[in-house]
């Protein structure tokens, strides 16, 4: 079932700048969708429009089958938002801040749920602390608690781990995993692309306000990734570089790195090792690696 349907959404500002250009996107219920893009690509603008913080210039968006403009009460009830910036009323306690958001969304008080939420996010022992006394990482978790306070079905995480240390980041991802297992649809933007690689079901890449690619992560890695073979040479000085001019090679001290696309050149590895044997080159180690999502992302954005 489609949870979010975005059709021909454009957003332009008074000066003529087009932040979004006819964006079309479908996000399935229960999936973890990573929206990647360089700074200023339009990620936050798109999220802001879906959440009601900004207005689209044209196009339509449905969340859970409801239109975000005419049925805004239904759609906003379904959505929880963790924005990029930490924005908190610092004179409130953790408990009051989270309860306030729940009330804003028209949900009657549920102390048991709030308690469970704060415990899940390791905030329970801070529940009576003023927000101004919390560390940056804890404030970030309060933001997540607020976004989840009304039990949303869709959660937008707009760079939620920016400025959060590794340990806290891992704890937050455990929470995200649990939410995903409970059926919550999660839309994530992050600069830590390895996080998207670890967790996302599908990846969308946005650049200059346009969605340039939407693909299942595994397919994307398989279809767009390249492979590398690293050969650790025994006598690097004896290698005749000219003999390998047909291969995409890089020399790094005592290493020889072959980059190839197995779909385009299925016999590349075989040819390469044959050439090594022919040249009488001896080696001490061989390593193989697949390109990361980050490398794929950088290539996509560069080529777009």
């Amino acid at each position: 079932m489609v949870m979010i349907s975005i059709s021909n959404v454009s957003k332009s500002y008074k000066g003529g700048f087009e932040a979004l250009k006819k964006v079309n996107l479908r996000i399935q219920q229960g999936e973890l969708f990573a929206l990647l893009g360089p700074n200023g690509a339009g990620k936050t603008t798109l999220i802001s429009i879906i959440c009601g913080l900004s207005r689209a210039t044209s196009g339509a968006i449905q969340v859970g089958g409801f239109d975000i403009v005419s049925d805004y009460r239904q759609t906003r009830q379904l959505i929880g938002l963790v924005p990029q910036e930490i924005s908190l009323s610092i004179f409130e306690t953790v408990w009051d801040a989270v309860s306030f958001t729940r009330g804003l969304f028209g949900c009657s008080p549920n102390p048991d749920y709030i308690e469970r939420l704060l415990k899940d996010l390791a905030l329970w022992d801070k529940k009576d602390n003023l927000l101004m006394t919390l560390s940056g990482g804890m404030k970030r978790r309060v933001m997540i608690a607020k976004a989840l306070s009304h039990e949303p079905k869709v959660l937008f995480l707009d760079e939620p781990t920016a400025g959060v240390d590794v340990e806290l980041r891992q704890e937050m991802w455990k929470v995200v995993h649990r939410l995903r297992e409970s059926g919550v649809t999660i839309i994530l933007t992050t600069h830590y692309i390895e996080e998207a690689e670890d967790m996302a079901d599908r990846i969308g890449v946005i650049h200059h306000g346009e969605i340039i690619l939407v693909e299942e992560k595994d397919k994307l890695m398989k279809n767009l990734g390249t492979k590398q073979i690293e050969i650790c040479l025994q006598e690097p000085d004896t290698v005749d570089v000219e003999a390998f001019k047909d291969f995409e090679l890089k020399f790094d001290k005592s290493e020889m790195i072959l980059t190839y696309d197995p779909r385009e050149k299925p016999t590349e590895v075989e040819d390469f090792f044959a050439k090594l044997t022919q040249q009488g080159i001896s080696y001490t180690d061989v390593k193989s690696r697949h390109s990361s999502l980050e490398e794929i992302f950088v290539k996509l954005v560069r080529d777009a």
């Binding site: 959440c51 913080l53 900004s54 207005r55 009830q77 924005s87 908190l88 804003l104 028209g106």
Partner: protein
Amino acid sequence: MNFLAVKTIFLFEMSRMWRTFGQSIASPIISTSLYFIVFGSAIGSRISEIDGINYGAFIVPGLLMLSVLTQSISNASFGIYFPQFTGTIYEIMSAPISYVEIVLGFVGAAACKSMILGILILITAAFFVPLQVDHPMAMLAFLLLTAVTFSLFGFVIGIWADKFEKLQVIPILVITPLTFLGGSFYSLDMLPPFWQKVSLLNPVVYLISGFRWSFYSKADVGVGVSLIMIALLLSSCMLFIRWIFKTGYRIRS
């Protein structure tokens, strides 16, 4: 109607009043009491009665109106400006709540705080001057209408302001002078004819006049005219707020 959201905003705003008791309640009561002591008891004892009313008692409606106007504006403007300043406005704008409900929550709390303050000042005044209220229901109605109208005005200022300083500009440079020149301390009859006419351009004259009528059955302008003026101000503020939310001015890009 998302009543729970309205209640949540209302209670959140009211809780600020108790948290900042000194600033929200004690300070305006003390400063108004000083007016009663200086103008009512000290200087007032040397001033003859105005329209048959003891001078100390005469200035009560004006001083009360001064506090209610400034506090209504201050409460409402700060209430909506602070979430914009901290960035927490995002959760209000992304909540399933209409603009009418947002206004009800913020303006309702601001007007309620001003009403509480007004009543406390009235009780305080009774310790210093001989007080009478001929039309208590009309007095409460004037108080309520004024508090709501100027809380709406404060809400507009809070949206318009892009720095803390701007929250104070209108109350200090516009509202306070208009209140002082609006007959808080004198009757319009005491002015030369030309200045009497000029004073009629001041909308606060109508508020104070109507409010004073509810105390002593005496007014500078007709009570009906005062009510029309309040209704006009109220409608203008409501229309302006409607425009703000319709266009998204400074709250939704």
